[in-house]
């Protein structure tokens, strides 16, 4: 038999265990070229960002959110007026109007920053009050969402991961909280919580309560008590699916503890859902905050909030309608852009969550 024949025989019989020598030769330059990646592999995150970028409405919403953040958090630092400084003699100025003393100063050659939205009945610059109101509303929205994220994801992940009786008990509790009419309880708590909080603020070490304001804290408490249930439900159902994946089994086999698996594997894999739900929680918290402030249960004077500004503007609606329009427009833009941003993030990172 010749060598040529032998080779032919090998290729014919697929069951043969004989190794081909050719397979072990060094690869040629051509073959090496074929293995080189033509495209970067796309990670989940990159893929989401790419999808997000293509969504024009979502990008516009993102830009709007960034602009609002700048207006609310950065601009007041450089603004020539302060939100609580009462300027004598410049009460109830119309937009762009100057008071007499300011006119004198202008005549003397000084440059005076105009009151873009006029001043209120106490002589406070209204534009900065609207900006500060936006800051308060945004802070409440973001902090409340962070609280919801923290409690909801932990609770949901624990219930979903351990399952069984624990899950049953934990979820019954969630069911009950879910059917509690939250706004009623919020109003109830907001109107009563300030007494225990005020007495707590007298104690040493708790003076920070007074700086933040008891109303603000009671609002956060309420969000922390009631608003996390939706998040907990979503995270639980995700975790219940994820915990059956191979990498969880692998992590268990390698001896990872329950806490590590939840933190490192399950919650990190829910990240899309977490981002989307948290983003959509922000406008709904701002909604509730402005509602409470409108009722007079929100942040305390002289600190403005968009809701309390709108409420105060009601009395002079006929003469100063812009005092209502400015905070109203601000609330509208904030809620709208956060809603659209959340929708865009959902479409990009979590298409399954639609509906």
């Amino acid at each position: 038999m010749t060598a040529e024949n032998k080779e032919k025989k090998n290729t014919n019989n697929i069951l043969s265990l004989q190794l081909k020598v050719d397979d072990f030769l060094p690869a040629s330059a051509e073959e090496k070229q074929a293995v080189v990646k033509e495209r970067e592999s796309v990670s989940f995150f990159k893929d989401g960002i790419r999808r997000f970028r293509r969504n024009k409405i979502a990008m516009a919403a993102l830009i709007a959110v960034i602009l609002i953040m700048l207006l609310a958090f950065i601009v007041p630092m450089f603004y020539p007026y302060s939100y609580d400084a009462q300027m004598k003699g410049s009460e109830r100025l119309a937009p762009m109007q100057y008071s007499e003393t300011e006119l004198e100063r202008i005549a003397a050659g000084e440059s005076v920053f105009p009151h873009l939205l006029g001043t209120d009945q106490n002589g406070r610059d209204y534009a900065i009050r609207v900006l500060m109101g936006a800051r308060v509303s945004l802070t409440v929205g973001i902090v409340a969402s962070a609280i919801v994220l923290l409690i909801g994801s932990t609770y949901g992940a624990v219930a979903g991961y351990f399952g069984g009786k624990l899950d049953l008990i934990m979820m019954r509790f969630v069911d009950i909280l879910y059917t509690v009419p939250d706004v009623l309880i919020i109003i109830l708590l907001a109107s009563t919580l300030k007494y225990p909080l005020e007495s707590l603020a007298q104690m040493p070490g708790f003076s920070w309560i007074q700086t933040i304001g008891p109303n603000m804290i009671s609002m956060f408490l309420v969000f922390g008590l009631l608003y996390w249930v939706g998040m907990a439900r979503i995270v639980r159902s995700q975790v219940m699916i994820l915990k059956q994946s191979e990498y969880v089994t692998a992590a268990k086999a390698l001896g990872a503890g329950n806490g590590r698996i939840i933190k490192k594997h399950l919650l990190t894999n829910c990240i899309g859902t977490l981002i989307v739900t948290t983003t959509l929680q922000i406008p709904s918290s701002i909604f509730t905050e402005s509602f409470l402030s409108f009722l007079g249960l929100g942040v305390q004077a002289p600190m403005p909030s968009l809701g309390s500004l709108a409420s105060a503007a009601l009395n002079g609606l006929q003469s100063y309608p812009y005092r209502l329009f400015a905070p109203a427009f601000m609330i509208f833009i904030i809620i709208l852009s956060f809603n659209l941003l959340g929708d865009g993030l959902r479409d990009a990172f979590d298409p399954k969550l639609k509906n």
Binding site: R172, D175, I176, T179, V180, P181, V183, L184, I185, I187, L188, L189, S191, T192, L193, Y195, P196, P283, F287, S290, F291, F294, L295, G296, L297, G307, A310, S311, L314, L317, Q318, P321, L324, A328, I331, F332, I335, L336, N339, L340, K354, N355
Partner: protein
């Protein structure tokens, strides 16, 4: 089905108990208890008042008395309105709010559902985009803003509609629109996405393929399935309308339970706040149970769960 309904009712009872207890303990955080408020009174008067409202007894005993009264439907006296009980106030004010809320629900449902379906049928066209635009904007406006803006333009500026009270049918227009704007937009969005979902299902194609007309397939197959998410939303919606009406009633000076509640918050009439909260909470919980049962009737698949 029976098991499902029993479970729902049991859950509602537990929720009602939790809400009632929570209300009691939250109200006890007020210095002096809900019947005294934080106002300083002379020690003798304080004692007399405490004895009158049973506040001198231990908390556990107060709690059982309170729960017992509650089971008998007694919500106690009002603190600020002399000689009137909370029951009395609710009985006269609630029908006004319920009428307003009912009208808003009807509008939200019968405007939102067709609007959402229409947008879904004309997906990607101009009309779809217009409906999306308006419903997205409608969701972003809190009810207190829509109502104040309506009042400013329709009443103060153009003088088309009366701005307060409920004396003529025209008075209902603005409050109902303000109340219905948010839920209508929400239902339209919900309906649009669920209708698009249903239209893509195999059974819709099958229905068309076997010769069912377009109109008939929409009404008999698509609408019935697509409306389910809207039905589940009706429960939370009633809760939302009840609370939304607090502010709207205050703004339009409507003598309903909502403005009474807001007034009670500002005047710190704690028994009235407590009673109204419990009454509205029970109302919402009951409606939620009804909606859940209704849902099971409309969607036979739910029985399996």
């Amino acid at each position: 089905m029976g098991k499902y309904i029993t479970k729902r009712i049991l859950l509602a009872l537990v929720t009602a108990f939790v809400v009632a207890s929570a209300t009691f303990f939250i109200m006890n955080m007020v210095p002096g208890g809900p019947f005294l408020g934080e106002k300083a009174v002379t020690p003798a008067a304080q004692e007399a008042l405490e004895a009158k409202f049973g506040l001198d007894k231990p908390l556990s005993e107060q709690y059982t008395t309170y729960m017992n009264d509650l089971l008998h439907g007694d919500l106690g006296p009002s603190l600020k309105k002399r000689g009137r009980t909370v029951n009395d106030i609710i009985a006269t004010k609630f029908p006004v709010s319920a009428k307003l809320g009912g009208m808003a629900i009807l509008i939200a449902f019968f405007v939102g559902v067709p609007l959402g379906s229409y947008a879904a049928f004309h997906r990607g066209k101009l009309i779809d985009n217009i409906i999306i635009l308006f419903s997205t904007a409608g969701i972003a406006i809190p009810s207190f803003l829509s109502s104040t803006l309506l009042m400013y333009f329709l009443s103060a500026q153009w003088g088309l509609l009366p701005s307060k009270g409920l004396n003529s049918p025209a008075c209902y227009i603005m409050p109902v629109i303000a109340l219905a704007l948010h839920p209508t937009s929400y239902i339209a969005r919900l309906m649009r996405s669920s209708m698009l979902d249903v239209m893509g299902q195999d059974y819709m194609r099958t229905a068309r393929a076997k010769g069912v007309s377009q109109v008939k397939s929409i009404f008999k197959h698509a609408l019935r399935n697509a409306i389910l998410p809207v039905v589940t939303y009706l429960g939370p919606l009633t809760a939302q309308l009840m609370t939304g009406s607090f502010i709207i009633e205050k703004i339009f000076v409507i003598p309903g339970l909502g403005s009474e509640f807001v007034g009670a918050i500002t005047s710190r009439d704690y028994p009235l706040i407590m009673g109204t909260t419990i009454f509205l909470a029970m109302f919402i919980i009951t409606l939620n149970v009804i909606v859940d049962i209704l849902y099971a009737v409309i969607d036979p698949r739910i029985k399996l769960k």
